[in-house]
Symmetry: C2
Subunit: 391 residues, 2 copies
């Protein structure tokens, strides 16, 4: 179904899910959300991916018309799935799992009724686990996204003009990203999460709390989307933190860089260097088998020792994590948070973003995307890490 | 909580919901999705809006920090709601409704447990009904969005250069929309729905089916987002259909215009004129009390009489509607579809989009946004309706 994602690659992904199904005594999973369909089918369609513990993966498609791939079965409504399965001599097992963390209560009721499922199991954590450990092809796609994402970031200083507002600069960056091939859509998991194409925050707007569970806040341009730039002019002595969308091929990278206009504030420079140093320490620390929470605690300890706790991950409102997995969505597993139960595995792709908010100046720090390899972290967003001077 | 949406306006909205609660024997609704929170609070926050059948609306807020409005109660988790209510001497009624069409099965389970709700009722249809009939303030906001949306559409011909691809033109339009004040985010209801900033489709790409339930398709730039432009060059003799995002203030308008490069195909010109004529007929036909399905049937009849059924609302794959309500999201009630049960009411805001796909040429037709007034339809996206020549 996809030019880049072969049948063999899809089988690898299905087998990863099957291994987790077996460990959780699940007879079949039925997947219906766009991101998990994309993961399991290599393309988004409207319908269902059926993965049995034993037997072939089937694609029940409502739309688009015209897919001719093997194992594609057209249906108009989920009620037809049982019937189509029985035509193939397949009986739905008892222990079916649905994406209960994602699909609505009403859709769950409809599906369980249509498929006579007595009590659905939850497929969501299992698929999140599978997706957390990227395949070689996924890592290749993420690295490709990283190259384009970096290309665009390198041009940011050339987009700046004195007297610009945050939203003006953000609009120029969006335009540049799109011309570089960014798909625009910023996929984020969770009913309460949304973002257009990322955030540009300058000065004290960094200290405006937002409703969203991103690392930084910002008041936003409108109460309907209260996050990110708020129309502030980029002033001398302030920072501009830029954290913009890296979705170039269905997979994304995450990059933040901090920029400054005649920035001399010693506290801000110190906090920024601390962010860079935390990255260095975590590059040495994180490897397969290390607990994600210990990575958080190491960063926290460095911040405490430097006396910067009040400014770490926000000031008036704080984010509860310093990093996160990413891939198809910006917020995948593992999560680098104090109570995270995740253990790093080879193939995780994570963004690390220790950031600070300095009142009167703005946000400081950097974010890179790393692949967890057998040897440790491989940075796939290599760009200068100091505060970049805007002219 | 909002500069434009006053406490009196919010009360009006809550009272509309209360009237529907009363008709459905619902004791309280608990709202937790971003769009409905925005509707009920005038801003997005992370938390819950509690609307009892009798008594004051309460805002249980997790994030952002610092809201000081009346009736804001800070909580860390939903389990605290019962406790906070009892501090105010309020007992949760038995018949509580949650947004069951929107919130996940897992979140529903957590909420029902946290609040000891035996069997939650469904608040989703009720809030959709309330939202379908806009208040005067909402109509003002939508009209304001329409003015900006039209401003940007007027500049589209000036953005075109010969030899451009669809994605190049779309990128220029996005950039122009953002400079006009578009918020970017394109809110669409439904788990299977997503779009970046709308669609630009040219030539035979209009005939590529997409998984999404929009009026038109398009192959997209990537299998992860298979919709809209696919990198085709805009050729002489082809049409370009442009249907781009009109979210300027949390409320949006919807506009489609068709453009052509030396377009002479008689069939396409006829189909386009038929779309314009359907608009004219529906402007005369739709008024409060008319069934939405009858509007669909009238359009369908005109298309049949013109012999254009094969090309109506798609060719290889067809959309099942010719129009839809809109406001905070692009797909609200009422729906203009053959089995729609909606009856038009004063205050509905609808987009009408009879469109055609002509093989070898592309898509044709227009879309406007209308307010349903006591007298009939008021067009709030007045722009030239003929096919616009690109040079």
């Amino acid at each position: 179904m996809n030019s880049k994602i072969t049948t063999a690659e899809l089988k690898l992904r299905h087998d990863k899910i099957r291994a987790l199904m077996s460990a959780n005594n699940i007879g079949a999973v039925l997947i219906s959300t766009n991101t998990n369909i994309y993961y399991c089918a290599g393309r988004v369609f409207n319908g269902f991916v059926y993965i049995p513990a034993e037997g072939e993966t089937l694609f029940f498609v409502r739309r688009p018309a015209g897919l001719t791939d093997k194992n594609v079965i057209y249906i108009k409504k989920p009620e037809q799935i049982t019937e189509e399965l029985s035509k193939l001599g397949i009986t739905l097992p008892e222990n079916v799992a649905l994406e209960l963390d994602r699909i609505s209560f009403s859709d769950t009721q409809r599906l369980t009724k249509a498929l006579s499922i007595e009590k659905p199991l939850n497929a969501s954590p299992l698929i999140s686990s599978a997706r957390a450990v990227k395949t070689a092809v996924e890592i290749e796609l993420i690295k490709e996204a990283g190259v384009h994402h970096c290309n665009s970031y390198k041009r940011i200083p050339s987009l700046f003009r004195k007297g610009m507002t945050d939203i003006e600069l953000q609009t120029e960056i969006e335009y540049d990203l799109r011309k570089e091939g960014c798909l625009g859509l910023f996929r984020v998991a969770g009913e309460s999460m949304e973002s257009f194409m990322g955030h540009v925050i300058t000065g004290d707007n960094a200290d405006n709390p937002s409703p969203y569970d991103f690392a930084m806040g910002g008041a936003g341009m409108d109460e309907s989307l209260p996050m990110g730039c708020n129309g502030s002019t980029i002033e001398e002595g302030s920072t501009v933190m830029i954290d913009m969308n890296g979705n170039f091929n269905g997979y994304m990278t995450d990059i933040t860089r901090t920029y400054g206009l005649h920035l001399t504030d010693a506290h801000t420079l110190k906090a920024h260097q601390l962010s860079v140093d935390i990255h260095k320490a975590l590059i040495r620390f994180i490897k397969p088998g290390v607990a994600a929470k210990d990575a958080y605690l190491l960063a926290q300890q460095m911040v405490e020792e430097a006396g910067e706790t009040d400014y770490f991950m926000g000031h008036r409102q704080k984010a509860g994590f310093i990093g996160h997995g990413l891939g198809i969505e910006i917020n995948e597993w593992p999560v680098l948070a104090p109570r995270s139960k995740h253990i790093f595995e080879e193939g995780n792709v994570i963004a690390i973003e220790p950031k600070f908010v300095i009142p009167g100046v703005g946000a400081a720090g950097i974010e890179n995307t790393y692949v967890v390899t057998a040897e440790g972290l491989e940075c796939i967003t290599p760009l200068p890490e100091d505060i970049i001077e805007l002219k």
